[in-house]
Symmetry: C2
Subunit: 194 residues, 2 copies
């Protein structure tokens, strides 16, 4: 059975937040054909306008979204609305019950927090989200972490950190060999300038 990875999109989702992990998981699927299936879903299925203007046509609606092993919620300015969107919270609640991992990237953690999924957990988010999460005394912030793995809940720091989180999850859910092969296929030997 393939592992299914669901990406929950919305207007104002930050592009790299979800496409970083998307690239890592889909590369895993290319390297192990039949092992990984990735899809994008949004509330209505209509074209989503991302935080920086990229327009993405999702594969399905939240209602049609198939069961997934990993559910990924990106960050972006749209999270300030989506954390109070009953359709988003219902989609997360339904999908997470059958998932091994529910994961956020960047300020996607603000949505997980509002869904109650960070209660009693360690978590991280983009620096702009830290003061917001800090208002919830039931969440233990891990400032400076690239990602925080709490088993069924995993949170990543901002934007590019989703790439590192995805490689970690590939190692955890599959194996070290596949994670290394994905890193090599993505030529992820970064040299961040400065």
């Amino acid at each position: 059975m393939p592992h299914t990875i669901a990406f929950l999109l919305f207007d104002g989702a930050e592009e790299l937040d979800f496409i970083g992990p998307w690239e890592m998981f889909t590369l895993a699927g290319e390297l192990r054909p039949g092992d990984v299936r990735c899809y994008t879903a949004s509330e209505t299925g209509a074209v989503v306008t991302c935080a920086k203007g990229l327009r993405v046509l999702p594969d399905c609606t939240f209602d049609d979204a198939p069961a997934a092993d990993v559910v990924i919620i990106p960050g972006g300015i749209g999270t300030r609305r989506e954390r109070d969107n009953p359709a988003m919270l219902a989609a997360i609640e339904r999908l997470r019950r059958g998932a091994a991992v529910t994961a956020s990237v960047c300020t996607g953690a603000l949505v997980l927090e509002r869904a109650g999924l960070l209660d009693g957990r360690r978590a991280v988010t983009h620096r702009v989200g830290l003061p917001i999460l800090a208002r919830n005394p039931r969440v233990t912030l891990v400032e400076g972490a690239r990602y925080v793995d709490e088993g069924d809940i995993v949170t990543a720091a901002g934007v590019s950190a989703g790439i590192d989180m995805a490689l970690h999850l590939i190692r955890r859910l599959w194996d070290e060999e596949l994670a290394r092969a994905v890193r090599d296929a993505a030529e992820y030997y970064p040299e961040p300038w400065g």
Copy 2:
């Protein structure tokens, strides 16, 4: 006057190849409002299905694509077709004449090579593209480079290397302060696993 960054898309374009630079340049525009405008273009303007299945609705067609300061050609399996697509080669030829930089990420270099833009130049590409570029004796391969800056032509290594190339171009075209601010906003302090 804002700097305009054009992203030339096609079926089979590799997602992270263009979204990595897209995120860096659009973050620059957010940090310096009015300074950067980014757009996506494709031959027909219809929804593009990327190499790993993401569906992107471009902003315009090649014919409608406005003049740009930086033109970015991503890689992906679709480059094997696009390097012989007259519409793609014509779009590159028209746009590059007004551009300060024409840049490829990953196997996008195969398209630049076929367009004659790498003749007499140093260049890099994804490891799978190296043997193809090596057939052209007029191109000097720089294996192992993250990106190669030849002034008006810049090539990056595979997939994730476009992020590093974009930060380099932001530093070059604007200034060090903005490149550092973009890196910080993207929280690009990578910890590639392994």
